[in-house]
């Protein structure tokens, strides 16, 4: 199965990047889950938790204050104003 290349960046630092099976976030319209093969999209993130299910390691969440994310051909770039990793996120960081 294809996988997503996820990249999370905050304004002044790099947060996380890696391969993932699922990314869940909250947009201004509601929750959205992104699986591999998702149509390209550009959406505004609302404040809340992002959930990321990496290929290796266990699911973790990242708290964001807002921002936006783009999806194109299985590449997910999350641009957060301020991102705080929840615990156990170190696994899978590279």
């Amino acid at each position: 199965m294809a996988e997503l290349q996820v990249e999370i960046v905050a304004a002044d630092h790099f947060v996380w990047s890696g391969a993932a099976k699922l990314v869940k976030g909250r947009t201004s319209n509601g929750e959205i889950g992104i699986l591999p093969g998702h149509v390209p999209m550009l959406a505004v993130l609302a404040a809340g938790d992002l959930e990321i299910d990496p290929v290796s390691g266990s699911r973790f969440s990242v708290q964001v204050d807002g921002g936006f994310f783009s999806v194109d051909t299985d590449r997910v770039v999350i641009v957060a104003d301020n991102a705080v990793m929840a615990e156990s996120a170190a696994a899978g960081t590279r």
């Binding site: 630092h13 947009t27 390209p40 999209m41 550009l42 783009s70 051909t73 641009v79």
Partner: protein, 297 residues
Amino acid sequence: MGAQIRVYRQKIASTTSMGKIFKAMELIASSRIGKARARVSASLPYANAITRAVTAVASQSEVEHPLTTEPESIRRAAVLVLTADRGLAGSYSAGVLKQAEHLVELLHSEGKDVKTYLVGRKAQAYFDFRGRDYAKVWTGGTDAPDFETARELGKILLQDFAEEFEAGGVDEIHVVFTQFKSMVVQEPTVIRLLPLEVVEGESETPADELLPLYEYEPEPEQVLDALLPRYIESRIFNAMLQAAASELAARQRAMKSAGDNAKDLIEKYTRLRNNARQAEVTQELSEIVAGADALNG
């Protein structure tokens, strides 16, 4: 002891202590440069991601957005000048101010009003001394800018941009800052922030790679509304970080040459002091000899 020798001794002592200060400042600047450069590169992923997204939206959608459309006539321009808080950085602040002067002259010759925003105490002092007007000034922390300042700057500039001309609004925004090219080359640069000129070459997208046709959530207008202020903030923040790295590099270089000069001066004064001492000894000796001769004769 002769008066001349004492003067040379004093000069040597004061130059030595100044040399120590220069050396300390050079060391401080060089220890901070690494961090400043790391911050420039840490802000790059964000800037790249945001530039890519803005490029995609601006080049594809047929959305009319005030931030991307060029107004018919530009009557007033905002100029943001990024300088240092402290001196002792060679021509760093002077270079930026000179560039800003050129820009202001150019804008005036095009018949535009100029509204100036300053960052750094050096710019403030320059404008105050000449009795020039400026809209707002930010001081403090120019060698380690934080994102909050960039956000505040972006917010104020965007507010002005949204205002009507009659109410004091501006039609375009320029930023004058020092681009950090390498440790030895820093160049005062002008960029136009708004109206947006999305330069695709700036993002790291190869030209042949097609930008995907995005779906927007919620509507393209709202996405642009959310995206563009962030883009502006990130450009300003990037400019501030580059300016900070340039400031430190300029200071390091200035302090290095000041330290070298101090060393040269100390050497010169030491020679002169020895000379004066020797002259005194010789004079005393010849006086004694002359005195003895007079007694014997």
